[in-house]
Protein backbone atom coordinates (compact mmCIF):
# COMPACT_ATOMS: atom_id res chain seq x y z
CA UNK A 1 0.00 0.00 0.00
CA UNK A 2 2.82 2.35 0.79
CA UNK A 3 4.20 1.87 -2.70
CA UNK A 4 0.85 2.89 -4.15
CA UNK A 5 0.91 5.99 -1.98
CA UNK A 6 4.38 6.86 -3.25
CA UNK A 7 3.19 6.22 -6.78
CA UNK A 8 0.29 8.67 -6.45
CA UNK A 9 2.49 11.40 -5.03
CA UNK A 10 4.98 10.69 -7.82
CA UNK A 11 2.22 11.06 -10.40
CA UNK A 12 1.08 14.35 -8.86
CA UNK A 13 4.65 15.66 -8.83
CA UNK A 14 5.05 14.40 -12.38
CA UNK A 15 1.96 16.34 -13.44
CA UNK A 16 3.58 19.53 -12.16
CA UNK A 17 6.72 18.78 -14.15
CA UNK A 18 4.48 17.99 -17.09
CA UNK A 19 2.62 21.29 -16.77
CA UNK A 20 5.84 23.28 -16.75
CA UNK A 21 7.17 21.16 -19.60
CA UNK A 22 3.93 21.95 -21.45
CA UNK A 23 4.99 25.59 -21.39
CA UNK A 24 8.40 24.73 -22.88
CA UNK A 25 6.77 22.61 -25.54
CA UNK A 26 4.22 25.27 -26.45
CA UNK A 27 6.95 27.82 -27.02
CA UNK A 28 9.21 25.32 -28.74
CA UNK A 29 6.46 24.05 -31.01
CA UNK A 30 5.41 27.50 -32.11
CA UNK A 31 8.68 29.41 -32.23
CA UNK A 32 11.35 26.70 -32.02
CA UNK A 33 13.05 28.46 -29.16
CA UNK A 34 13.39 27.41 -25.56
CA UNK A 35 12.36 29.53 -22.63
CA UNK A 36 14.43 29.15 -19.49
CA UNK A 37 12.14 31.55 -17.66
CA UNK A 38 9.23 29.11 -17.47
CA UNK A 39 9.92 28.18 -13.85
CA UNK A 40 10.10 31.85 -12.91
CA UNK A 41 6.83 32.57 -14.71
CA UNK A 42 5.32 29.82 -12.59
CA UNK A 43 6.72 31.46 -9.47
CA UNK A 44 5.27 34.83 -10.54
CA UNK A 45 1.88 33.21 -11.14
CA UNK A 46 1.88 31.68 -7.67
CA UNK A 47 2.84 34.97 -6.05
CA UNK A 48 0.18 36.79 -8.03
CA UNK A 49 -2.44 34.30 -6.87
CA UNK A 50 -1.24 34.75 -3.31
CA UNK A 51 -1.39 38.53 -3.56
CA UNK A 52 -4.91 38.45 -4.99
CA UNK A 53 -6.13 36.07 -2.31
CA UNK A 54 -4.53 37.55 0.77
CA UNK A 55 -3.85 41.21 0.05
CA UNK A 56 -6.89 41.99 -2.08
CA UNK A 57 -9.16 39.38 -0.53
CA UNK A 58 -10.61 38.02 -3.76
CA UNK A 59 -12.58 34.77 -3.52
CA UNK A 60 -10.68 31.65 -4.56
CA UNK A 61 -12.11 31.07 -8.03
CA UNK A 62 -11.91 34.73 -9.02
CA UNK A 63 -8.32 35.10 -7.91
CA UNK A 64 -7.31 31.93 -9.75
CA UNK A 65 -8.95 33.08 -12.96
CA UNK A 66 -7.61 36.60 -12.74
CA UNK A 67 -4.11 35.38 -11.86
CA UNK A 68 -4.10 33.14 -14.94
CA UNK A 69 -5.46 35.93 -17.15
CA UNK A 70 -2.98 38.43 -15.77
CA UNK A 71 -0.08 36.08 -16.34
CA UNK A 72 -1.28 35.50 -19.89
CA UNK A 73 -1.27 39.25 -20.47
CA UNK A 74 2.15 39.45 -18.87
CA UNK A 75 3.44 36.80 -21.26
CA UNK A 76 2.15 38.73 -24.25
CA UNK A 77 3.72 41.91 -22.92
CA UNK A 78 7.02 40.14 -22.32
CA UNK A 79 7.07 38.89 -25.88
CA UNK A 80 6.27 42.34 -27.23
CA UNK A 81 8.96 44.11 -25.27
CA UNK A 82 11.95 41.80 -25.16
CA UNK A 83 11.46 38.75 -27.37
CA UNK A 84 10.17 40.36 -30.54
CA UNK A 85 13.19 42.61 -31.18
CA UNK A 86 15.40 39.55 -31.54
CA UNK A 87 13.00 37.56 -33.65
CA UNK A 88 15.10 36.01 -36.39
CA UNK A 89 18.28 35.80 -34.32
CA UNK A 90 19.97 32.53 -33.35
CA UNK A 91 18.13 30.45 -30.75
CA UNK A 92 21.02 30.90 -28.35
CA UNK A 93 20.21 34.62 -27.96
CA UNK A 94 16.70 33.79 -26.82
CA UNK A 95 17.99 31.22 -24.35
CA UNK A 96 20.27 33.81 -22.78
CA UNK A 97 17.49 36.37 -22.86
CA UNK A 98 15.12 34.09 -20.99
CA UNK A 99 17.81 33.29 -18.45
CA UNK A 100 18.08 37.05 -17.95
CA UNK A 101 14.31 37.33 -17.54
CA UNK A 102 14.49 34.56 -14.93
CA UNK A 103 17.17 36.46 -13.02
CA UNK A 104 15.13 39.65 -13.05
CA UNK A 105 11.92 37.90 -11.98
CA UNK A 106 13.61 36.13 -9.08
CA UNK A 107 15.42 39.27 -7.98
CA UNK A 108 12.36 41.47 -8.31
CA UNK A 109 10.26 39.15 -6.13
CA UNK A 110 13.00 39.01 -3.51
CA UNK A 111 13.12 42.79 -3.48
CA UNK A 112 9.52 43.14 -2.30
CA UNK A 113 9.96 44.04 1.35
CA UNK A 114 8.67 41.53 3.96
CA UNK A 115 7.11 39.28 1.32
CA UNK A 116 9.80 38.30 -1.14
CA UNK A 117 12.20 36.52 1.20
CA UNK A 118 9.60 34.49 3.14
CA UNK A 119 7.81 31.29 2.30
CA UNK A 120 4.04 31.43 2.06
CA UNK A 121 1.14 29.06 1.93
CA UNK A 122 -1.67 29.54 -0.51
CA UNK A 123 -5.05 29.48 1.26
CA UNK A 124 -6.97 27.17 -1.07
CA UNK A 125 -10.33 25.79 0.05
CA UNK A 126 -9.32 22.16 -0.56
CA UNK A 127 -6.26 22.36 1.63
CA UNK A 128 -5.34 19.36 3.81
CA UNK A 129 -8.41 17.35 2.84
CA UNK A 130 -7.95 13.67 2.33
CA UNK A 131 -9.90 11.17 0.31
CA UNK A 132 -9.71 7.51 1.17
CA UNK A 133 -10.22 5.07 -1.62
CA UNK A 134 -9.74 1.35 -1.17
CA UNK A 135 -7.27 1.72 1.64
CA UNK A 136 -5.15 4.29 -0.19
CA UNK A 137 -5.25 7.87 1.02
CA UNK A 138 -5.22 10.57 -1.61
CA UNK A 139 -4.65 14.22 -0.86
CA UNK A 140 -7.17 16.39 -2.71
CA UNK A 141 -4.34 18.73 -3.66
CA UNK A 142 -2.65 15.95 -5.59
CA UNK A 143 -5.86 14.83 -7.27
CA UNK A 144 -6.54 18.41 -8.31
CA UNK A 145 -3.13 18.56 -9.96
CA UNK A 146 -3.75 15.33 -11.86
CA UNK A 147 -7.24 16.33 -12.99
CA UNK A 148 -6.39 19.83 -14.14
CA UNK A 149 -3.31 18.62 -15.98
CA UNK A 150 -5.29 16.01 -17.90
CA UNK A 151 -7.97 18.54 -18.86
CA UNK A 152 -5.46 21.15 -19.94
CA UNK A 153 -3.56 18.63 -22.00
CA UNK A 154 -6.68 17.55 -23.88
CA UNK A 155 -7.67 21.16 -24.60
CA UNK A 156 -4.23 22.05 -25.93
CA UNK A 157 -3.98 18.87 -27.95
CA UNK A 158 -7.32 19.55 -29.64
CA UNK A 159 -6.35 23.15 -30.25
CA UNK A 160 -3.07 22.26 -31.95
CA UNK A 161 -4.55 19.42 -33.93
CA UNK A 162 -7.86 20.78 -35.13
CA UNK A 163 -8.28 24.53 -34.70
CA UNK A 164 -7.17 26.99 -37.35
CA UNK A 165 -5.09 28.82 -34.77
CA UNK A 166 -3.21 25.69 -33.75
CA UNK A 167 -2.46 24.70 -37.31
CA UNK A 168 -1.24 28.22 -38.06
CA UNK A 169 1.05 27.93 -35.05
CA UNK A 170 2.48 24.67 -36.33
CA UNK A 171 3.07 26.21 -39.73
CA UNK A 172 4.85 29.18 -38.19
CA UNK A 173 7.04 26.87 -36.19
CA UNK A 174 8.12 24.90 -39.21
CA UNK A 175 9.10 27.86 -41.34
CA UNK A 176 8.49 31.39 -40.12
CA UNK A 177 9.12 33.04 -43.46
CA UNK A 178 6.98 30.66 -45.49
CA UNK A 179 4.17 30.96 -42.95
CA UNK A 180 4.41 34.73 -43.18
CA UNK A 181 4.12 34.55 -46.97
CA UNK A 182 1.01 32.41 -46.61
CA UNK A 183 -0.66 35.20 -44.71
CA UNK A 184 -0.17 33.91 -41.19
CA UNK A 185 0.47 36.74 -38.73
CA UNK A 186 3.62 35.17 -37.29
CA UNK A 187 4.41 37.96 -34.86
CA UNK A 188 0.93 38.00 -33.38
CA UNK A 189 1.00 34.22 -33.05
CA UNK A 190 4.28 34.39 -31.19
CA UNK A 191 2.79 36.85 -28.73
CA UNK A 192 -0.16 34.56 -28.24
CA UNK A 193 2.04 31.53 -27.66
CA UNK A 194 4.07 33.34 -25.03
CA UNK A 195 0.84 34.41 -23.38
CA UNK A 196 -0.43 30.84 -23.39
CA UNK A 197 2.84 29.53 -21.99
CA UNK A 198 2.75 32.09 -19.19
CA UNK A 199 -0.87 31.20 -18.42
CA UNK A 200 0.00 27.48 -18.28
CA UNK A 201 2.90 28.35 -16.00
CA UNK A 202 0.52 30.26 -13.73
CA UNK A 203 -1.76 27.20 -13.58
CA UNK A 204 1.23 25.08 -12.63
CA UNK A 205 2.24 27.55 -9.96
CA UNK A 206 -1.23 27.70 -8.43
CA UNK A 207 -1.47 23.91 -8.40
CA UNK A 208 1.99 23.45 -6.94
CA UNK A 209 1.51 26.08 -4.24
CA UNK A 210 -0.68 23.98 -1.88
CA UNK A 211 1.70 21.00 -2.14
CA UNK A 212 4.93 22.84 -1.47
CA UNK A 213 5.21 26.47 -0.49
CA UNK A 214 5.44 29.72 -2.37
CA UNK A 215 8.88 31.26 -2.31
CA UNK A 216 11.17 33.17 -4.64
CA UNK A 217 13.28 30.14 -5.57
CA UNK A 218 10.41 27.81 -6.40
CA UNK A 219 11.13 28.48 -10.06
CA UNK A 220 14.16 26.19 -9.91
CA UNK A 221 11.72 23.29 -10.22
CA UNK A 222 11.58 24.36 -13.86
CA UNK A 223 15.03 22.83 -14.27
CA UNK A 224 13.48 19.45 -13.52
CA UNK A 225 10.85 20.03 -16.16
CA UNK A 226 13.53 20.10 -18.87
CA UNK A 227 14.20 16.39 -18.45
CA UNK A 228 10.45 15.86 -18.65
CA UNK A 229 10.22 17.74 -21.94
CA UNK A 230 13.22 15.89 -23.37
CA UNK A 231 12.03 12.44 -22.34
CA UNK A 232 8.69 13.13 -23.97
CA UNK A 233 10.22 14.60 -27.09
CA UNK A 234 10.53 18.36 -27.16
CA UNK A 235 7.93 19.03 -29.79
CA UNK A 236 5.10 16.90 -28.46
CA UNK A 237 2.34 18.06 -26.09
CA UNK A 238 1.23 14.63 -24.82
CA UNK A 239 4.94 13.77 -24.69
CA UNK A 240 5.53 16.56 -22.19
CA UNK A 241 2.92 15.15 -19.82
CA UNK A 242 4.08 11.55 -20.26
CA UNK A 243 7.68 12.66 -19.77
CA UNK A 244 6.68 14.57 -16.65
CA UNK A 245 4.89 11.52 -15.29
CA UNK A 246 7.89 9.28 -15.98
CA UNK A 247 10.26 11.72 -14.28
CA UNK A 248 7.90 12.18 -11.31
CA UNK A 249 7.34 8.47 -10.77
CA UNK A 250 11.01 7.54 -11.22
CA UNK A 251 11.95 10.26 -8.78
CA UNK A 252 9.54 9.24 -6.04
CA UNK A 253 10.29 5.55 -6.56
CA UNK A 254 14.04 6.08 -6.32
CA UNK A 255 13.40 8.14 -3.19
CA UNK A 256 11.54 5.14 -1.77
CA UNK A 257 13.76 2.25 -2.83
CA UNK A 258 17.25 3.66 -3.37
CA UNK A 259 19.60 5.23 -0.81
CA UNK A 260 19.48 8.93 -0.08
CA UNK A 261 20.79 11.23 -2.80
CA UNK A 262 19.47 9.26 -5.75
CA UNK A 263 16.14 11.07 -5.62
CA UNK A 264 17.71 14.39 -6.55
CA UNK A 265 19.59 13.11 -9.57
CA UNK A 266 17.11 10.48 -10.79
CA UNK A 267 15.54 12.87 -13.29
CA UNK A 268 18.91 13.78 -14.76
CA UNK A 269 20.08 10.19 -15.01
CA UNK A 270 16.88 9.34 -16.85
CA UNK A 271 17.36 12.20 -19.29
CA UNK A 272 20.99 11.35 -19.97
CA UNK A 273 20.07 7.72 -20.68
CA UNK A 274 17.25 8.93 -22.89
CA UNK A 275 19.56 11.22 -24.86
CA UNK A 276 22.00 8.36 -25.38
CA UNK A 277 19.51 5.81 -26.65
CA UNK A 278 16.70 7.85 -28.15
CA UNK A 279 17.69 11.50 -28.52
CA UNK A 280 14.34 12.56 -29.92
CA UNK A 281 12.35 11.39 -26.96
CA UNK A 282 9.39 9.06 -26.81
CA UNK A 283 7.04 11.07 -29.00
CA UNK A 284 9.51 13.31 -30.79
CA UNK A 285 9.76 13.71 -34.51
CA UNK A 286 12.88 12.65 -36.32
CA UNK A 287 15.52 15.36 -36.40
CA UNK A 288 17.32 15.69 -39.66
CA UNK A 289 17.95 18.46 -42.07
CA UNK A 290 17.85 18.15 -45.80
CA UNK A 291 20.70 19.86 -47.57
Amino acid sequence: MQVLQVLVSGIAQGCIYGLIALGFVLIYKATETVSFAQGELMMLGAFLGLALMTALGFPFWLSVLSAIAAMGAFGILLERIVIRPILGQPAFSIVMLTIGIGYVARGAITMIPNVGTDTHTLPVPYRNQLLEFGGVVFAIEQLAVIGVTAALCVVLYLMFGYSKLGIAMQAASQNQLAAYYMGIPVKRLNSLVWGMAAAVAAVAGLLLAPITFIHANMGFIGLKAFPAAVVGGFGSLPGAIVGGLIIGVVESMSGFFLPEGFKDVAAYVVVLVMLMIKPNGLFGERLSKKV
Binding site: A105, M111, Q174, L272
Partner: protein
Protein backbone atom coordinates in the same frame (compact mmCIF):
# COMPACT_ATOMS: atom_id res chain seq x y z
CA UNK B 1 42.28 57.14 -40.33
CA UNK B 2 44.77 54.32 -40.36
CA UNK B 3 46.01 52.03 -43.09
CA UNK B 4 47.60 48.64 -42.53
CA UNK B 5 49.81 47.56 -45.39
CA UNK B 6 50.34 43.84 -45.57
CA UNK B 7 53.55 42.85 -47.31
CA UNK B 8 53.86 39.24 -46.15
CA UNK B 9 51.31 36.47 -45.87
CA UNK B 10 52.54 35.80 -42.33
CA UNK B 11 51.00 39.08 -41.26
CA UNK B 12 47.58 37.56 -41.71
CA UNK B 13 48.15 34.99 -39.02
CA UNK B 14 50.43 36.90 -36.65
CA UNK B 15 49.22 36.88 -33.06
CA UNK B 16 49.65 40.63 -32.76
CA UNK B 17 48.70 42.31 -36.00
CA UNK B 18 50.83 45.43 -36.19
CA UNK B 19 53.23 47.61 -34.27
CA UNK B 20 50.42 49.42 -32.48
CA UNK B 21 48.91 46.23 -31.16
CA UNK B 22 52.30 44.90 -30.13
CA UNK B 23 52.92 48.11 -28.21
CA UNK B 24 49.60 47.98 -26.39
CA UNK B 25 49.87 44.28 -25.54
CA UNK B 26 53.33 44.78 -24.08
CA UNK B 27 51.94 47.71 -22.09
CA UNK B 28 49.20 45.42 -20.77
CA UNK B 29 51.80 42.79 -19.90
CA UNK B 30 53.90 45.38 -18.10
CA UNK B 31 50.90 46.65 -16.17
CA UNK B 32 50.01 43.09 -15.11
CA UNK B 33 53.58 42.41 -13.97
CA UNK B 34 53.70 45.65 -11.98
CA UNK B 35 50.20 45.17 -10.55
CA UNK B 36 51.26 43.64 -7.19
CA UNK B 37 53.25 46.78 -6.35
CA UNK B 38 50.69 49.30 -7.51
CA UNK B 39 47.39 47.79 -6.38
CA UNK B 40 46.13 47.37 -2.83
CA UNK B 41 45.90 43.77 -1.66
CA UNK B 42 42.12 43.57 -2.04
CA UNK B 43 42.20 44.62 -5.67
CA UNK B 44 45.10 42.30 -6.35
CA UNK B 45 42.89 39.43 -5.20
CA UNK B 46 40.19 40.65 -7.57
CA UNK B 47 42.64 40.73 -10.48
CA UNK B 48 43.69 37.19 -9.55
CA UNK B 49 40.05 36.16 -9.71
CA UNK B 50 39.71 37.83 -13.12
CA UNK B 51 42.69 35.83 -14.39
CA UNK B 52 41.25 32.57 -13.04
CA UNK B 53 37.79 33.20 -14.47
CA UNK B 54 39.47 34.32 -17.68
CA UNK B 55 41.01 30.85 -18.02
CA UNK B 56 37.63 29.19 -17.44
CA UNK B 57 36.09 31.71 -19.84
CA UNK B 58 38.65 30.79 -22.50
CA UNK B 59 37.50 27.20 -22.26
CA UNK B 60 33.83 28.06 -22.44
CA UNK B 61 34.52 30.55 -25.23
CA UNK B 62 36.23 27.83 -27.23
CA UNK B 63 33.18 25.63 -26.79
CA UNK B 64 30.33 28.13 -27.03
CA UNK B 65 31.90 30.95 -28.99
CA UNK B 66 34.00 29.03 -31.48
CA UNK B 67 32.48 25.58 -31.78
CA UNK B 68 28.89 26.66 -31.25
CA UNK B 69 28.10 24.03 -28.61
CA UNK B 70 26.80 25.54 -25.45
CA UNK B 71 27.20 24.03 -22.04
CA UNK B 72 24.99 24.62 -19.03
CA UNK B 73 27.15 22.48 -16.78
CA UNK B 74 30.54 24.05 -17.04
CA UNK B 75 30.85 24.59 -13.30
CA UNK B 76 31.01 20.80 -13.02
CA UNK B 77 34.33 20.73 -14.89
CA UNK B 78 35.50 23.55 -12.65
CA UNK B 79 34.52 21.40 -9.67
CA UNK B 80 36.31 18.31 -10.98
CA UNK B 81 39.48 20.35 -11.47
CA UNK B 82 39.21 22.02 -8.08
CA UNK B 83 38.64 18.80 -6.12
CA UNK B 84 41.33 16.88 -8.02
CA UNK B 85 43.82 19.62 -7.30
CA UNK B 86 42.84 19.75 -3.63
CA UNK B 87 43.07 16.01 -3.10
CA UNK B 88 46.41 15.72 -4.90
CA UNK B 89 47.88 18.78 -3.19
CA UNK B 90 46.86 17.31 0.17
CA UNK B 91 48.74 14.15 -0.79
CA UNK B 92 51.83 16.27 -1.38
CA UNK B 93 52.03 16.26 -5.15
CA UNK B 94 53.95 19.20 -6.67
CA UNK B 95 51.72 21.85 -8.26
CA UNK B 96 52.60 21.47 -11.97
CA UNK B 97 51.99 17.72 -11.79
CA UNK B 98 48.69 17.97 -9.94
CA UNK B 99 47.57 20.79 -12.25
CA UNK B 100 48.24 18.57 -15.24
CA UNK B 101 46.30 15.71 -13.66
CA UNK B 102 43.42 18.05 -12.78
CA UNK B 103 43.29 19.27 -16.37
CA UNK B 104 43.56 15.73 -17.68
CA UNK B 105 40.80 14.38 -15.47
CA UNK B 106 38.51 17.26 -16.40
CA UNK B 107 39.26 16.59 -20.06
CA UNK B 108 38.38 12.92 -19.60
CA UNK B 109 35.10 13.90 -17.97
CA UNK B 110 34.57 16.40 -20.79
CA UNK B 111 35.01 13.62 -23.33
CA UNK B 112 32.30 11.62 -21.57
CA UNK B 113 29.92 14.58 -21.69
CA UNK B 114 30.93 15.16 -25.27
CA UNK B 115 29.52 11.78 -26.21
CA UNK B 116 25.87 12.86 -26.26
CA UNK B 117 27.04 15.90 -28.23
CA UNK B 118 27.65 13.59 -31.15
CA UNK B 119 24.02 12.64 -31.34
CA UNK B 120 22.21 15.70 -30.10
CA UNK B 121 22.60 19.39 -30.69
CA UNK B 122 21.22 22.74 -29.73
CA UNK B 123 18.93 22.72 -26.77
CA UNK B 124 19.24 18.95 -26.24
CA UNK B 125 22.95 19.35 -25.71
CA UNK B 126 22.30 22.17 -23.25
CA UNK B 127 20.01 19.89 -21.27
CA UNK B 128 22.49 17.00 -21.39
CA UNK B 129 25.19 19.22 -19.91
CA UNK B 130 22.73 20.62 -17.38
CA UNK B 131 21.83 17.09 -16.27
CA UNK B 132 25.49 16.17 -16.10
CA UNK B 133 26.24 19.24 -14.00
CA UNK B 134 23.60 18.25 -11.46
CA UNK B 135 24.93 14.69 -11.25
CA UNK B 136 28.50 15.88 -10.67
CA UNK B 137 27.35 18.29 -7.97
CA UNK B 138 25.52 15.45 -6.23
CA UNK B 139 28.53 13.14 -6.52
CA UNK B 140 30.76 15.83 -5.01
CA UNK B 141 28.30 16.19 -2.13
CA UNK B 142 27.90 12.45 -1.49
CA UNK B 143 31.41 11.11 -2.02
CA UNK B 144 32.44 12.17 1.44
CA UNK B 145 35.61 10.11 1.79
CA UNK B 146 37.27 12.10 -1.01
CA UNK B 147 35.50 15.43 -1.22
CA UNK B 148 34.50 15.99 2.37
CA UNK B 149 30.86 16.25 1.33
CA UNK B 150 28.75 19.23 2.27
CA UNK B 151 31.01 19.95 5.24
CA UNK B 152 33.56 21.20 2.73
CA UNK B 153 37.29 20.80 2.37
CA UNK B 154 40.17 23.16 3.02
CA UNK B 155 42.80 23.59 0.35
CA UNK B 156 46.56 23.47 1.10
CA UNK B 157 48.92 26.09 -0.33
CA UNK B 158 50.65 25.70 -3.68
CA UNK B 159 53.93 23.78 -3.57
CA UNK B 160 56.08 23.88 -6.72
CA UNK B 161 58.92 21.46 -5.97
CA UNK B 162 59.61 23.02 -2.60
CA UNK B 163 58.83 26.65 -3.53
CA UNK B 164 55.62 27.64 -1.78
CA UNK B 165 53.28 30.22 -3.30
CA UNK B 166 51.79 31.16 0.03
CA UNK B 167 51.54 34.95 -0.34
CA UNK B 168 48.98 36.83 -2.41
CA UNK B 169 51.73 38.16 -4.69
CA UNK B 170 53.35 34.81 -5.46
CA UNK B 171 49.93 33.23 -6.09
CA UNK B 172 49.09 36.14 -8.39
CA UNK B 173 52.14 35.35 -10.48
CA UNK B 174 51.24 31.66 -10.65
CA UNK B 175 47.82 32.66 -11.99
CA UNK B 176 49.31 35.19 -14.39
CA UNK B 177 51.69 32.62 -15.88
CA UNK B 178 48.86 30.09 -16.22
CA UNK B 179 46.53 32.64 -17.82
CA UNK B 180 49.14 33.81 -20.31
CA UNK B 181 50.07 30.25 -21.25
CA UNK B 182 46.43 29.23 -21.68
CA UNK B 183 45.72 32.29 -23.81
CA UNK B 184 48.68 31.57 -26.07
CA UNK B 185 47.64 27.93 -26.39
CA UNK B 186 44.09 28.87 -27.34
CA UNK B 187 45.21 31.59 -29.76
CA UNK B 188 47.56 29.16 -31.48
CA UNK B 189 44.89 26.48 -31.51
CA UNK B 190 42.48 28.83 -33.22
CA UNK B 191 44.81 29.57 -36.10
CA UNK B 192 45.60 25.90 -36.59
CA UNK B 193 43.50 23.57 -38.78
CA UNK B 194 41.81 22.27 -35.63
CA UNK B 195 40.62 25.73 -34.65
CA UNK B 196 39.44 26.45 -38.16
CA UNK B 197 37.50 23.19 -38.04
CA UNK B 198 35.80 24.34 -34.81
CA UNK B 199 34.74 27.60 -36.41
CA UNK B 200 33.49 25.74 -39.48
CA UNK B 201 31.36 23.50 -37.27
CA UNK B 202 29.95 26.55 -35.54
CA UNK B 203 28.99 28.23 -38.78
CA UNK B 204 27.39 25.21 -40.37
CA UNK B 205 27.67 21.60 -39.37
CA UNK B 206 26.52 20.39 -42.74
CA UNK B 207 29.03 22.38 -44.75
CA UNK B 208 31.79 21.49 -42.29
CA UNK B 209 30.97 17.84 -42.72
CA UNK B 210 30.97 18.11 -46.47
CA UNK B 211 34.40 19.76 -46.34
CA UNK B 212 35.72 16.63 -44.72
CA UNK B 213 35.65 17.61 -41.07
CA UNK B 214 35.03 14.66 -38.79
CA UNK B 215 32.22 16.11 -36.66
CA UNK B 216 32.38 13.56 -33.86
CA UNK B 217 36.12 13.88 -33.39
CA UNK B 218 36.20 17.67 -33.41
CA UNK B 219 33.19 18.11 -31.17
CA UNK B 220 34.64 15.73 -28.59
CA UNK B 221 38.01 17.45 -28.91
CA UNK B 222 36.39 20.82 -28.33
CA UNK B 223 34.63 19.51 -25.24
CA UNK B 224 37.87 18.02 -23.94
CA UNK B 225 39.98 21.15 -24.42
CA UNK B 226 37.23 23.29 -22.96
CA UNK B 227 36.91 21.02 -19.94
CA UNK B 228 40.67 20.91 -19.49
CA UNK B 229 40.85 24.71 -19.38
CA UNK B 230 37.97 24.74 -16.91
CA UNK B 231 39.92 22.16 -14.89
CA UNK B 232 43.02 24.40 -14.81
CA UNK B 233 40.82 27.32 -13.80
CA UNK B 234 39.19 25.14 -11.16
CA UNK B 235 42.54 24.11 -9.70
CA UNK B 236 43.59 27.75 -9.34
CA UNK B 237 40.12 28.65 -8.05
CA UNK B 238 40.54 26.05 -5.29
CA UNK B 239 43.78 27.67 -4.14
CA UNK B 240 42.34 31.15 -4.30
CA UNK B 241 39.13 30.40 -2.42
CA UNK B 242 40.88 28.09 0.09
CA UNK B 243 37.68 26.25 0.99
CA UNK B 244 35.62 24.05 -1.28
CA UNK B 245 32.03 22.96 -0.93
CA UNK B 246 29.87 21.25 -3.57
CA UNK B 247 27.29 24.03 -3.80
CA UNK B 248 29.94 26.31 -5.34
CA UNK B 249 29.79 24.19 -8.48
CA UNK B 250 26.05 24.14 -9.09
CA UNK B 251 23.81 25.37 -11.86
CA UNK B 252 23.94 29.00 -10.68
CA UNK B 253 27.68 29.08 -11.16
CA UNK B 254 27.32 27.43 -14.57
CA UNK B 255 24.89 30.13 -15.65
CA UNK B 256 27.24 32.79 -14.30
CA UNK B 257 29.99 31.38 -16.51
CA UNK B 258 27.71 31.42 -19.53
CA UNK B 259 26.67 34.98 -18.69
CA UNK B 260 30.35 35.86 -18.53
CA UNK B 261 31.14 34.75 -22.08
CA UNK B 262 27.96 36.26 -23.51
CA UNK B 263 28.58 39.64 -21.92
CA UNK B 264 32.27 39.49 -22.80
CA UNK B 265 31.40 38.80 -26.41
CA UNK B 266 30.91 35.37 -27.95
CA UNK B 267 33.57 34.42 -30.44
CA UNK B 268 36.45 36.55 -29.20
CA UNK B 269 39.37 35.76 -26.93
CA UNK B 270 39.29 39.26 -25.46
CA UNK B 271 35.68 38.59 -24.57
CA UNK B 272 36.63 35.84 -22.12
CA UNK B 273 38.75 38.24 -20.07
CA UNK B 274 36.41 41.21 -20.46
CA UNK B 275 33.54 39.01 -19.30
CA UNK B 276 35.59 37.79 -16.35
CA UNK B 277 36.36 41.39 -15.42
CA UNK B 278 32.66 42.16 -15.62
CA UNK B 279 31.67 39.18 -13.49
CA UNK B 280 34.18 40.03 -10.78
CA UNK B 281 33.79 43.80 -10.64
CA UNK B 282 30.00 43.88 -10.96
CA UNK B 283 29.29 42.95 -7.30
CA UNK B 284 31.72 45.69 -6.22
CA UNK B 285 30.02 48.24 -8.46
CA UNK B 286 26.64 47.21 -7.10
CA UNK B 287 27.98 47.57 -3.56
CA UNK B 288 29.20 51.07 -4.44
CA UNK B 289 25.89 52.02 -6.03
CA UNK B 290 23.86 50.64 -3.14
CA UNK B 291 24.27 53.75 -1.01
CA UNK B 292 22.98 55.99 -3.77
CA UNK B 293 19.70 54.09 -4.01
CA UNK B 294 16.84 54.38 -1.56
CA UNK B 295 17.40 51.85 1.24
CA UNK B 296 14.34 49.74 0.37
CA UNK B 297 15.94 48.88 -2.98
CA UNK B 298 19.60 49.26 -2.16
CA UNK B 299 19.67 46.93 0.84
CA UNK B 300 17.57 44.13 -0.57
CA UNK B 301 19.00 40.73 -1.46
CA UNK B 302 17.52 40.59 -4.92
CA UNK B 303 19.30 43.66 -6.25
CA UNK B 304 22.28 41.78 -7.61
CA UNK B 305 20.27 39.27 -9.60
CA UNK B 306 18.04 42.02 -11.00
CA UNK B 307 21.11 43.94 -12.15
CA UNK B 308 22.66 40.81 -13.67
CA UNK B 309 19.43 39.97 -15.46
CA UNK B 310 18.91 43.48 -16.79
CA UNK B 311 22.50 43.72 -18.01
CA UNK B 312 22.20 40.34 -19.70
CA UNK B 313 18.92 41.29 -21.40
CA UNK B 314 20.36 44.62 -22.48
CA UNK B 315 23.42 42.96 -23.99
CA UNK B 316 21.41 40.37 -25.89
CA UNK B 317 19.06 43.04 -27.22
CA UNK B 318 21.42 45.87 -27.98
CA UNK B 319 24.97 44.53 -28.12
CA UNK B 320 24.96 40.84 -29.05
CA UNK B 321 28.72 40.89 -29.62
CA UNK B 322 29.26 41.82 -26.01
CA UNK B 323 31.79 44.16 -24.48
CA UNK B 324 34.39 43.24 -27.08
CA UNK B 325 31.94 44.07 -29.86
CA UNK B 326 31.38 47.48 -28.31
CA UNK B 327 35.13 48.07 -28.24
CA UNK B 328 35.42 46.86 -31.83
CA UNK B 329 32.86 49.43 -32.94
CA UNK B 330 34.61 52.18 -31.07
CA UNK B 331 37.95 51.22 -32.58
CA UNK B 332 36.52 51.00 -36.07
CA UNK B 333 34.97 54.41 -35.61
CA UNK B 334 38.38 55.90 -34.87
CA UNK B 335 40.17 53.91 -37.55
CA UNK B 336 37.73 54.85 -40.27
CA UNK B 337 37.08 58.38 -39.07
CA UNK B 338 35.11 60.15 -40.72
CA UNK B 339 33.81 57.27 -42.84
CA UNK B 340 32.12 55.13 -40.19
CA UNK B 341 28.65 54.11 -41.28
CA UNK B 342 25.86 53.24 -38.92
CA UNK B 343 24.98 49.96 -40.54
CA UNK B 344 28.52 48.60 -40.52
CA UNK B 345 27.88 46.04 -37.81
CA UNK B 346 24.21 45.52 -38.50
CA UNK B 347 22.90 42.09 -37.66
CA UNK B 348 21.49 40.07 -40.47
CA UNK B 349 18.10 38.63 -39.71
CA UNK B 350 17.94 34.96 -40.44
CA UNK B 351 14.41 33.75 -40.31
CA UNK B 352 14.93 30.35 -38.94
CA UNK B 353 13.74 27.32 -40.71
CA UNK B 354 12.85 24.30 -38.73
CA UNK B 355 15.39 21.59 -38.06
CA UNK B 356 12.52 19.25 -37.47
CA UNK B 357 11.43 18.84 -41.06
CA UNK B 358 12.23 15.76 -42.98
Amino acid sequence: MRFIFKTRYDQDIDLAGDAGQRFWYSMLGLALILAPWSLPEYWLAQVTFILIYGIVGLGLMLLAGFTGLFSLGHAAFLGVGAYTQTVLAAMGWPFPLSLAVAAGLSAAVGAVVGLPALRVKGIYLGIATLAFGFIVEEVLARWESVTGGNAGKTVPTIDIFGWKADTAVSFYFVCLVCAVLCTIVVLNLLRSPTGRAFVAIRDSEISAQSMGIHLARYKTLSFMISAALAGVGGALYAHQIRFLSPDQFGIVHSIDLLLMVVIGGLGSIHGAFLGAAFLITMPQLIALGKDLLPPAIGQSVGLQSVVYGVVLIAFVLFEPRGLYGRWLKLRTWFQLFPFYRKGLFKRQKTFQKSDRLR
